[in-house]
Amino acid sequence: MKYYLRFLWIAFFCGAICILGFAVKNDGFFASDVICLFGMDEIGYFTQYLPQITYWFFPLLFFQAFFGSYIYRHFCTASIYFFSRYTKRTRWLFKEILRLFLFCCLYLFVMLISGLVVCSLVSKVKIDASIWKMFCYYMVIYSLYLFVVTLGINLLSIVFNSNIGFIVVEGINLFFIAAFAIAGNLFAPEGVILEQYEWIIKINPFYYLIFSMRNSNNDYLISMLLFMGIAALLLWCSFFVVNKHNFIESNQETGGM
């Protein structure tokens, strides 16, 4: 636990660093605008936005890499001793998953706070009416996204190893980002995606993370429901993976070193 708490410093630095490029504004900021910036509000579906997408995506990737072995580490060394004494694996898994989700929320919260602090040091930040709404949307959507990806890495790591877990999940993640960023170049000759190709962008989960693509409360709700659905599916899978895991070949990471 203590080992993982140190990664919150990374969230703090990432939040501060990410916002630095945008923090100077003569007429100041609304606090909800800062949250929207973290929600990739200035992103479109054209390749010229790719560097910006990568820029905002990196802090999330750090979390996924650091916590990609959060549950899996228990299966690396001494798992046979641990699980032979603690037989209620489902209960144990539920606790671990809950902690992982709390870390997701905490990481995003620290990142937001550091971003807001840096913004208020450089420019004037005004608290507006929609801050709580945007805060809730950001926290729910992004924490669920982080949770889904990180749990996915952990599960695949348990089944195969951390190499495959990370590469497969991040590969899918990066594919969705790349597919989102090129959609406009291929299917939007006049700046707006053609109606017959809208489905291509709508089946992309990354699209549901971008706040600039969310126009109404309903859109935000759809994003939340989508990530909740994926999270529920992964939770269901995780119980099977952990309960059926064979501990005799448990150390896939370092061979007992």
Binding site: P51, S157, I167
Partner: protein, 275 residues
């Protein structure tokens, strides 16, 4: 001894699953691009209507497959060699080679092997593509995918590295740019290897992202420095990209990475115990 150590490690690493998988992944991107080019040019009757085959290569800025490849580049470039050190430790191969060739030779040979492996993985598929494009398409066709006039495209792309070579001998230009791409990939992999030998990288998962962190820091610099040239790998490594570039800065950056890698390995040699 050094050559022995290199040979020993190279024969081991080239058989690794990660190297073979990465090679075939890069080859798959290349083949998808080649297949797309074949489909697109299937119904064209005249050479004058065809796009320049060199501008349709995977490394070209016009290739959709190349665009996806570049998105995966920070992971793919480290994937073949990121875990070699941890695996050597795990299988005790490290002790075996060190006892045969000496500690210094093990580490320096490892750096060279990482470079050679990554260089091969990131050049051979592209060379295959150049040969295939040369066989299947007519190299006299000079159409630009942007559909602008030839003279206008030459003007736009003239600022790119060695562009004079492209005008005089485009196949050689493609080969040289592929060669450079391999060298850059090799240096990035060496840097990644040098970093991951430190004890912070206790899980294999951590070994994949030093290059990511490096690119993140670079993208952050781009944000705050307001440079008049791009420092994003996505635009630098793709040929025919028309963004403003500063090749001296990139060369210095690569030289620094190389020096830092050697420096880190030097530290590791001093600290490392055989037992």
């Amino acid at each position: 001894m050094f050559i022995n150590s290199v040979r020993m490690q190279l024969s081991g690493i080239l058989r690794k699953k990660t190297v073979i998988v990465t090679f075939f992944v890069v080859l798959a991107f290349v083949m998808i691009n080649f297949y797309t080019n074949m489909i697109n040019n299937r119904d064209i009757q005249y050479i004058s209507q065809m796009h320049d085959p060199i501008k349709l290569l995977t490394l070209s800025d016009w290739s959709v497959s190349g665009y996806f490849l570049m998105q995966f580049f920070p992971i793919l470039v480290v994937f073949p060699t990121a875990c070699t050190y941890l695996t050597d430790k795990e299988t005790k191969v490290k002790i075996y080679i060190e006892s045969k060739t000496g500690k210094e030779y093990y580490w320096y040979a490892k750096l060279v092997v990482v470079f050679i492996t990554t260089f091969l993985v990131f050049t051979v598929p592209f060379f295959i593509e150049i040969v295939l494009e040369g066989i299947c398409f007519d190299l006299r066709s000079a159409g630009d995918p942007s559909c602008f006039q030839y003279i206008q495209t030459i003007e736009n792309e003239n600022r790119n590295l060695l562009f004079q070579l492209f005008i005089n001998h485009k196949v050689l230009y493609a080969c040289v740019m592929t060669f450079f791409f391999g060298i850059v990939s090799g240096i990035l992999a060496m840097f990644n290897f040098a970093i991951v030998t430190f004890s912070f990288f206790r899980f294999k998962i951590f070994t994949f992202f030093p290059i990511y962190v490096l690119f993140y820091l670079i993208s952050f610099l781009e944000k705050i420095l307001n440079l008049d040239y791009t420092i994003n790998y996505f635009f630098i490594l793709r040929i025919f990209n028309i963004k403003e570039k500063n090749y001296i800065v990139y060369a210095i950056f690569l030289a620094v990475l190389l020096i830092v890698s050697f420096f880190l390995v030097r530290i590791k040699i001093k600290r490392d115990d055989l037992i």
